[in-house]
Symmetry: C2
Subunit: 163 residues, 2 copies
């Protein structure tokens, strides 16, 4: 499988998980968090699939297409090790969906960030709320959900906080 | 359609065109040109689909994954306005396939580069040779070919030099 093949599969898996999560949380109140804005493509997808839902974005440094940058009230710029714990105080137990796409090519670094995120995301989620992630996490009081059809296990991850 | 949707469609179209072109030129001798290495994903795809075929890459500035960088004999680094005309002298009428993915968000710039490329690519192609491109081109002595199934007209382009 070429790097082009594997990249397309990853994007298709990401989109399938976002679409499935958007349906699952349709009746669940609460804002959405996007961890890692990047070029803004998944943020654009989230806001299209979850029209009217408040979306807060966490990003270290802005590099997105100008049309895909949220207003300043919905953008937490800086090191996620600082911005995310600060957000817990404000959003604890209220967030309906968190999409986390912060993996790099460095497996050790990914594992470290996933461990840090796990603790905070568990606190942020509302009962029944979802985390979709490019990295495996260990979330307290949450179950790993089955992936949408066509998405191979390990390519993306969905967790749901106990209702 | 979100930017994620449209990005996935573009990559799928790109892959479908490369795969179709690889089949079409299977019996045609001659090297392959990759114009624009980028992160190296399509170069990786080309070398997988065209195993054993000599591939020459043209890139302004290296930013690819280290595993997707050709050796120095197959890499023409620098402004394509200089490197490509120089390659014409060496490869005129011999190239079996040229993949050009050099479009930016700037339509005027894209049109300018496409016009420059058109003249050079027409000279490089062997009779029956193909150009696949993210931009429309006007190639002398070449026909526009039908796109693979599922690829919408205008999303990618395939041209074939008269046999």
């Amino acid at each position: 499988m070429s790097r082009l093949d594997s990249f397309i599969r990853r994007l298709e898996a990401q989109r399938a998980c976002i679409d499935a999560a958007a349906q699952t949380i349709a009746a669940l109140e609460g804002p959405v968090f996007e961890l890692g804005l990047g070029n803004g493509r998944t943020y654009d997808h989230l806001r299209e699939r979850l029209e009217g839902r408040e979306i807060f974005v966490f990003e270290r440094q802005l590099a997105a297409h100008p049309a895909c940058v949220p207003d300043s009230e919905h953008l937490f710029l800086g090191d996620i090790h600082e911005t995310l714990p600060a957000a817990v105080a404000r959003f604890e137990g209220r967030v309906a969906l968190i999409h986390s796409d912060i993996g790099s090519g460095d497996a050790e670094q990914n594992a470290g960030i996933a461990a840090f995120l796990s603790g905070n995301l568990a606190k942020l989620l509302r009962p029944g709320g979802l985390v979709i992630s490019d990295q495996p996490m260990t979330l307290a009081a949450a179950d790993s959900l089955a992936l949408p059809k066509g998405v191979k296990p390990g390519r993306y991850f969905i967790y749901r906080r106990h209702p």
